[in-house]
Amino acid sequence: MRPDYPVPDYQPMAATALTDAERWPALDPAARARIERLRTHPRAPRYNHECGDRLSPAAVASLLDYRARLADPVSWHPGEPPAWVGELVERVHETVPRYRRARPRSFAELTPMTRNDLLSRVDEHVPDDAGLSDLIVYRTSGSRGPAATVPMTPEFCALDLPVLQHVLAQLGVAFDGSGEVALVNVYHQPVAYQFASASAYLGGAGLLKVNLHEPGWRTPGDVVAFLDDCAPQVVSGNPISLARLAELPLTHRPRAVVSGAMGLGRGLADRLATRFGCPVVDVYGITEAGLIAWRADSGDHRLLPRRLYVEILDAEGNPCPPGVRGEIVVTCDENPLLPLLRYRTGDQAALEERDDGLVLVDLEGRDPVRFRAHDSSWVNSIELTHVLSPLGLAAWQLHQDADSSVTLTLHQVDAPPAAAAVRSLLGDVPLRVVVADLAGDAKPQRYTSDLLGALVD
């Protein structure tokens, strides 16, 4: 237990339950030897968990088919659900307890699901004909309320790999698992799991989850030596952990950096691209559905060509016309244990159709909070994002008290231009700048307010 942190540290290996044969059902002896090398590496972190891919040979084959299907572009238009959505509606009304009671006449009449449905009665959303033998669970980040537990299959969990291959291929990057380690998922928070793994889908290539916080390592300097030695093709993380990684004297250059969990500001994206000399991808997704959209530049987030249908709804649940912002609502038929129908993500964007596909415009993965400027006008948080994001801040939070005074919290370092950027929009409001460690919350709520009328809902 760390005395300076409210969440207890993980007891090493206390959460493990499987044998290696169960963790990696499809790995060959060479890949098992690789895991052993990563486990016993002299500079390895203090591992505190074990985690396999749990992919059977059949699941690996299915993922390879999935990868091939991603070559097909998104085939639907806003407001026009594709044929598989109708089939999904039919199926859930036969097999899913929640939907058996009432059969709506059309997709548009289906009451949207929320995270509260998963909190209160997740078992009613699991199809009767879904096998439970390889069920795994993940908790949502809890950034928009209480964390829900999401059931899924190992194959659904592994869809990130073909999806990342698809995205990176469009940037000219081969993410093929050649070499010792395919991917390192980095965290930078007081408490996090660390483990060595491998993926049968990537030919047995190594995978690592590591925490950059120093107490997670045996000797200062191990983190740099270990990551340089492992030479991962891809590094994934969140803006806070990736900003920390960029400060370390690594000599290894990954082929790509993938940022998720919260919005990646343009300044940090540029800094990461310069530091590592590779494409930097900002992905948007939710635990319940997986990855939804991505971008590798300052443009809009492109929807992934998955079995995923996206709507934008207003507060009353009515569809917003293309180009009008509202809540992102997803329908996804890829998790056999949790088919999602009209699932409210809590995130905001507009949906637009472009020549090269569908995009989410002005994606803001937080509550749509407004701030009251000195002249009493409302300033949307998206505008604050626009002025703060070029500054290269790893993370920030902005809060307005009931008396209109504003607190800007910056992660670890003060940045005077940040206060100026806030003042540029809010004028001469009382403003306090605080430097704090925002790493404890994996997906912090960026904008909050106690002012009446601040929440646009």
Binding site: D123, D128, P151, C157, F195, S236, L291
Partner: protein, 181 residues
């Protein structure tokens, strides 16, 4: 032509003791009813009735008494087919959830058997259109009620199995994730 449900339930209330007697041979009675309805009888089909349990046999005898009614047989578009369905399909299903003795004791069970006989013989109850008849049968349908209860129990067992699977440590060890969302 339609038949009154009340007429049939009264008939059941006044079932002669021969039709409620353990010693009465079902095969012989069913053979008489079918012969009366059509003039012919299929001994091979009747022989299957010999394998009935005591409760099935007792309910089948009551069903024979209900349909051994000239007005009802005359109203049916296909009485032989209706009687065969009643004795071979409906009665065994009903016997799973209803004791034959309850027909004498419980007016709802008499109405249920009367309505099942009308349904199987294709005769509308007096003063009811087909949806009304189906609706009223549903209110006394023991087989359907038992199915609903079984389905509810199965749903609760499944929900408990899902919750247990989600709580298990092997589910929580999970599988590696590759990105952060």
């Amino acid at each position: 032509m339609s038949i009154s449900v009340t007429a049939l339930t009264r008939r059941l209330a006044d079932t002669p003791k021969e039709f409620a007697d353990d010693a009465t041979a079902l095969v012989a009675v069913a053979g008489d009813v079918l012969l009366h309805a059509s003039g012919t009888v299929d001994p091979a089909w009747l022989a299957d009735l010999d394998a009935y349990t005591d409760n099935e046999r007792a309910l089948a005898l009551l069903a024979c008494w209900v349909v051994f009614d000239d007005r009802l047989l005359a109203a049916s578009p296909d009485p032989v087919r209706g009687i065969r369905h009643l004795l071979a399909e409906t009665v065994p299903a009903l016997a799973q959830v209803v004791r034959a003795s309850s027909v004498a004791a419980d007016p709802d069970r008499r109405e249920e058997l009367a309505r099942l006989a009308l349904r199987d013989l294709g005769v509308p109850p007096d003063g009811e259109n087909p949806p009304e008849a189906a609706d009223r049968l549903a209110t006394v349908d023991s087989v359907r009620r038992a199915e609903v209860l079984r389905a509810a129990q199965a749903a609760e067992e499944r929900a408990a199995a899902v919750r247990k699977a989600m709580e298990e440590k092997r589910a929580r060890e999970a599988a590696a994730r590759y990105t952060q969302v």
